[in-house]
Symmetry: C2
Subunit: 337 residues, 2 copies
Amino acid sequence: MAPHARHAQIGEAGLLARMLPQLPVDPRTEVGPGDDAAVLRLDSPRLVITTDSLVEGHDFLRTTTSARRVGRKAAVQNLADVAAMGARPQALVVAISAPSDEPPSTFEQITAGIAERAAAWGASVVGGDLGGAEQLSVTITAVGSLPGEEPPIRRDGARAGDLLVIGGPRLGRSAAGLAVALSGRAALAFDDPADGPARLDPELAATDAAVLLEWHDAPDPDLALGWGSGGAVSAQMDLSDGLVRDGARLAAASGLAVDLDPALLAADVETLRPLASVLGAEPLDWVLHGGEEHLMLAAAEAVPAGFRAVGRFTPGPEGLVTLGGAPVSGVGFDHFS
Amino acid sequence: MAPHARHAQIGEAGLLARMLPQLPVDPRTEVGPGDDAAVLRLDSPRLVITTDSLVEGHDFLRTTTSARRVGRKAAVQNLADVAAMGARPQALVVAISAPSDEPPSTFEQITAGIAERAAAWGASVVGGDLGGAEQLSVTITAVGSLPGEEPPIRRDGARAGDLLVIGGPRLGRSAAGLAVALSGRAALAFDDPADGPARLDPELAATDAAVLLEWHDAPDPDLALGWGSGGAVSAQMDLSDGLVRDGARLAAASGLAVDLDPALLAADVETLRPLASVLGAEPLDWVLHGGEEHLMLAAAEAVPAGFRAVGRFTPGPEGLVTLGGAPVSGVGFDHFS
């Protein structure tokens, strides 16, 4: 296969021949890719299911990410939604739409990125669809199951006095990486087989911009915290749209307010300050409003293993978010813009 | 809401407020839209899952279909894949990407079309995702389950001597409708609340062009034949890419050839001849190579109820399709072009 063969020339069968070998096989899969639908044996009939898309120009830029990272992110954002319900993900199906001159390597690398993250969390890719579009897009549906009669972890279970806890050591990384991507001072080849690091201008290269861009391109949260938190959390979601907006969602669903503790966020802010100075940005905004972290965000009486506290739910006005008791300015990340 | 309010102005919450009321609720759904993922109780843990996209400009034209029909077709093409495995569909998740100036009515009508066809076959819509794109696209994932240890109906079970049977009274309707759409002689308002019929030039209006265009825009196959055919069929798929191409797939998977019987297709051809004459097309091509019918296509010893015979599997060269023993010209419908 010539390195620049285009997908319309090799056809769906040719692409699948390059994509399918990258997919690990799960013994629970009775029928994998190639028939009208896949058939798999879930651990329980209580299906957990979610779907999410990434679209070129809206959710990623070809100039600052790679096809492999797009695959990773598309997988993770779906796996995180299953995990946030307290369920282990088991399988993914993948729909990719692409321009007719898209190189086959794009399909291959997206598949590799999806398969990599799926395998890391115990899931397999069991089916998909390839089609044409002017823009590259990847839509994944992830499924898992809840054992026995175990209740799903919903958003509405937080109690006044519960801590707001987050399943990761840092906040604001994805927003910082997005600022790097949009600065015009970083570049990554979309078909980069080595998957980075991105090329940066000298000033950015002296910061952790490359690592933050990679986290933005393909966040890597500890998803096992989602199904591992079990009885220890009273409400849970994944952090998609920023601490303030998603914190407000947990609070509103539970009929509560939430107060963020600035002292518990200070290290997050300070770590981002060198990069923020270079880019002329305010690191607190990244920490409070940055989305696409996909860390587990939960309510709990005591801090569960792997989580840390960032605030506390209070019986204040439903859905109100404050920072050390004071109003928070700014708005969360809106996926739909 | 002003009739021309655009979706970026009313936001995701505003759109969902218009879309969600259209979705019937299934008591088997524990958690519906609004949390990170949906939770539903399948009738069995043996999940059947498939995904498929429709993209503006590639899979439909805004000038000759309506948003409601796009929703119907997006649902049916996925429901048909589940049905073809011998399973009843139970639930759908829906990802819609659209330009920022897309009218809210588009989302509403697509949802209505999806919900209508889902409900007709016993399925519900349990979740989704809304995002931005330059082109409108709808990606659906459908799930169902197989009871007990019932085997899925795969493509590779046909036996020499089996009849090739199709679950519908006519073939070539979708291809004929596509020819109408591409003729430039038919038009339908994309937000047509009455859902047609399309406006046709007088010559086309004297044919069944409007009905064929509607079938192309939103085919309405009897999907219950898929899970009802049960032990009566040895292999099954849904007719997506044309009788010749899909017949070849069943034959190839089963290590057989298949001979189509021209006498059994004659009525299909003759019914399409008046329209074909107007459009200067060959109706036999539509019948042999027209895709997107989504009728059940199966192999069976005797004709199951609701099906009719169109050919017979033979021990000839693997995957060869003949017509009355003679070679077939032309190629099937390629979704990926």
